[in-house]
Amino acid sequence: MIHVYGVVEGLEELPPLAGLDDAPLERQRIGELEVVLSRAATPTSAEVTREAVLLHAQVVEELLARSGALLPAQLGRGFRDDEELSDALRAQAQELGERLQQVRGCVEFGLRALAKDASEGETATGSDYMRARLDDLRRQDRLVAELHEPLASLARESTLHRGPAGEIRAAYLVEGESADAFRKAAERAEGSPAVTVVCIGPWAPYSFAGTEARR
């Protein structure tokens, strides 16, 4: 089973780490693209354990520090052999090349935010419930306009997910030189008395690596 950590561009050298199952990391060029992978004898190696998640993330982080651009791969997908991997990459080569271009020089920040006066789940009557939901939606609109949109204007690309209880969840693809300004803006929002904001980063651009569901 072949486990892929990511598609890389301009990778200086492999990080001094072993991959899953203690297998050595390898770099492999497929057409115009390069991937970093490790091989395991048993097909069950990609079993999701806390250790596997942390190791995958650590390899990705080390690759980010050594690459010009990186598309982290999702954990939990394995290829049976080199041919299967090569076919999959060649089939998506153009999209992957475009994605690499889009994330080059960028890191990702994640954000979750909830208005402090968001309603509780329990309501006595149907009309109370409807009123509470409407209030949640209004608060959510405000979070989007006052928190998300200014941050998104500092990012090359962003994603926004509206949660069911008025919370928002967003990710931002931020250029390296804008990272400090972005972090300062997020810290100001974290200090706001009216909103609970959690901003975590920088990450490798996990949320912007997919070739599907973009814009």
Partner: protein, 67 residues
Amino acid sequence: MSRSLQHEVTLLELVDRVLNKGVVLSGDITLSVADVDLVYVGLRVLLSSVATLEEQAQLAAGGVPAR
């Protein structure tokens, strides 16, 4: 945010990225159903962590949780 809560939130954000985001080059899915359930439990924990944060922040500000 307390250090342990910060750690917990960061870990759950990381798990979410590694398992749910990232580029899918296809290949075989090697996740079992039980593992996927585990991830969703984690996300629920994260949401309740945000609610806890909210209360802590209000207490720290000298106020009484409004709800």
